[in-house]
Amino acid sequence: MKYESQKVAKLYFIAAIGLFVGQILFGLIMGAQYVIGDFLFPEIPFNVARMVHTNLLIVWLLFGFMGAAYYLVPEEAETELFAPWLAYLMFWIFLVAGAATILGYLLVPYATLAELTMNDLLPTMGREFLEQPTITKIGIVIVALSFLFNIGMTILKGRKTVVNLVLLMGLTGLAVFFLFAFYNPTNLVMDKYYWWWVVHLWVEGVWELILGAILAFILIKTTGVDREVIEKWLYIIIAMTLITGIIGTGHHYYWIGAPEFWQWFGSIFSAMEPIPFFMMTVYAFNMVNKRRRNHPNKAAVLWALGTAVMAFLGAGVWGFLHTLAPVNYYTHGTQITAAHGHMAFYGAYVMIVLAMISYSMPLMRGREACNSARSQSMEMWSFWLMTISMVFITLFLTGAGILQVYLQRFSDNPMDFMVVQDKIALFYWLREITGFVFLIGLTLYVVSFFVGKNDPEATVELSK
């Protein structure tokens, strides 16, 4: 850690992990509500738990991306952060606004929250992932703009590297596409069309640039492979990402009233979206195999490789499973979508933030290169527990989805929605149990920061 101002990332990462724990707790509540219908009813109805779960996910990932940017931009640009005070200020504004929003969801009925926050002036609430009151959305825009200003000025006055440029493009794209959240016409077809410009062009567009930039940074730092090679492949991967991902938005436009040519364009282009994820996996393993040095932080390398693999599995393979229009006709709006959602978000975005934390946290806490062997081994235990339990959650939801598709849509005498839900309750039980295993993994992850604090740093066995 060469620059003092990189320390601001520590605060962002701590908040990120805190919100991550909150997200998983509400995930478990929802999982229980799937099997015990009136669990915590009417205090915390399902839709409130869901809002908290999804909003916490997005907010803690944003905290993670900002923390990653505050850590790697000064190091890449070889200059101090432009305005560390602004970073701290924005941290507290974002944290307070986020906490207030979550409390607003929990303590007040949603309709009252809409009144209190004068949603009628510019109604943007009540849409999936965009449930935040309009004032919070405006707060998010302010935080994002000042963050971009801070990072942009740092890059301007420092060394221009591809990693910095790609990260800045990804973050700028994130801010720009969020503006479509303010567009909420009465015409539902238009509302949904442009809603996907926030959601899809985030997670299958600009967020993949952020993912690529952070992964490239970690690979440069841990494998010592020449920056030229890593940045060259980064460009090719994100080129393929946007080439396939932009028109790939079409796979959301099959059944929401858009013209039917989208069924062809959406299927063809989104069918090619797994290619950049596959290239990223080959690229990550290639760089690690061609490493010029053995970095003692084995946990970070494991997270980086894990990200590439799980992103390909979750976003690539599970995405392809239900992206073709004839298949999507049956699986649209079923548990298959939820299965893809879980593994894709975990594999592509949760894991890259955890990889960045795993790499940079020891350095920010005064270590030379990595944590002690004990702390790293616990962290690796948490990696495997969380990753494997997420694979099983996805498998169980896929099982539930396939059965749901058959019973409710494909069979000759389709059953009612709730009847089918009762029939697939077994998978929901299995998913809930696996959710607790995930929580154990997450707990181990948090504990790993405190275990072996005063043990000596792990060293690379000098076999090589």
């Binding site: 009813f41 839709n47 591809v162 069309y193 090719i236 709006g333």
Partner: protein
């Protein structure tokens, strides 16, 4: 001849490719706008439906239900509930009759205590949604 594999060319491919496909996407969006009038059932839009959409959003119905397949998967799809229930009154009746403390051991829709005007509005909104041409999705009336 030494094999060139330059970062500059990779960067050009990235910028060129991204701009090229974004313009293509905008062209397809333009085509979409052209085709919408015959598909989006906009003639059914009126103040009642607009109020209905507001009521739908203010009570976060998307937090449990899916609408045209998008939303939460906890409760039934409502894009075609007008066809499934048959009438505006049937929909209003269902919403009105939700038990205040829910159904023991079962998933239950909360009682939102909507006024009659709001009830009619949200039912009219769902009727409007069922009129949108969604390439005959969902596969059957169960949704």
């Amino acid at each position: 001849m030494a094999q060139a594999f330059t970062k500059a060319m990779a960067r050009n491919i990235f910028y060129g490719g991204t701009l090229f496909f974004f313009l293509a996407f905008l062209a397809l969006t333009y085509q979409t706008h052209q085709a919408w009038p015959e598909r989006d059932n906009h003639e059914a839009l009126n103040d009642t439906v607009a109020l209905g959409k507001k009521v739908w959003e203010d009570h976060d119905c998307i937090g449990c239900h899916t609408l045209l397949g998008e939303g939460a998967y906890f409760a039934p799809e409502l894009g075609n509930v007008y066809k499934r229930y048959g009438s505006v009154d049937a929909i209003k009746g269902f919403i009105m009759s939700r038990p205040k403390d829910g159904v023991p051991g079962r998933r239950s829709m909360p009682q939102f205590n909507l006024s009659d005007e709001e009830l009619t509005a949200v039912a009219e909104f769902l009727k409007y949604v069922s009129g949108i041409n969604t390439a005959n999705w969902p596969p059957n009336v169960k949704g």
